[in-house]
Symmetry: C2
Subunit: 146 residues, 2 copies
DNA sequence: TTTAGTGCAAAAATTTTGCACATAG
DNA sequence: CTATGTGCAAAATTTTTGCACTAAA
């Protein structure tokens, strides 16, 4: 997997640094979305000297390069998560445990068509994010969420 | 229209204050989404003494009460706009001139069904926001946007 | 008169920048 | 070597809070 990351980074003309790889590992090993600070805390277990700005910079670059995904959370905090196909932006996020699940039903083509036909506009990007409670959290507590 | 606002506020158990009404007027008279600070600047033309915190507090309350809508902008700034049906969250927003247009093609029922059936989860809220360039902006500059 | 709203100042929280040093290519 | 990455400290930005005072119901 490290190998894969290396080639991905190279394609983006990002240098392969230990910390950059570690950030990817952290995200990859989490099934939930993390804030920059949380990524940083985890990173510090490996690298006692790592700055929060480095984490911010890296997360942003990686998201720009579509290696990871940004999550648009109702609480407006910044979150990122690793997903196999980060160019696919249809997610179901659990407000309680933070799990992210893909929604494969994609209506984007349809949408794009309608924006073009009806509004005469052009789509640059879109967010389809469904916020809710996942299976587990529904069972656990019926849905108490922050 | 002031009358309408009054009854809306009463329903939400929000007191009808001149500044609250003025905030609604500001948003109503704009066809684009505004940041809290922008609302505040406009407000100060009428009320020389109005605090930015007041604007923040009011916008948040009004959004909570579904009187106005929050915009989820890629630049992560907070924006609000007035829309006739703020419980309808399918929008096309122009990244250039900030116009908001409704998207009436609603696939939400379908989505909700699938989240229930396939993920066994529950939908709490959703965002469908299409970011792009509107008709006018496309004509104007072919799409230079921040 | 009781509850909610507001101004101000100040704080909090989050994110970004500048710059000297370090490291990957 | 040369361009990029990083740590640190510091700043910038945005949003929130506390509290005394005011105004709506």
């Amino acid at each position: 997997m490290l190998r894969d990351f290396q080639s991905v980074l190279k394609k983006l003309h990002l240098k392969v640094t230990p910390k950059r790889l570690a950030i990817l590992e952290v995200l990859k090993n989490e099934s939930v979305y993390l804030s920059p600070e949380e990524v940083w805390r985890k990173l510090r277990k490996q690298f006692s000297q790592v700055g929060l700005p480095t984490v911010y910079r890296n997360l942003e670059e990686l998201a720009q390069g579509n290696v990871i995904s940004k999550v648009t959370h109702p609480n407006r905090q910044l979150y990122y998560y690793f997903c196999l196909n980060p160019s696919h932006h249809h997610h179901f996020i659990c407000l309680s445990c933070r799990t992210v699940e893909d929604i494969d039903f994609c209506m984007f083509r349809e949408l794009e068509k309608r924006v073009k036909q009806e509004l005469k506009g052009r789509v640059v990007s879109h967010i389809l994010q469904v916020n809710g409670l996942c299976k587990k959290c529904l069972k656990k507590d019926g849905g108490s969420h922050a």
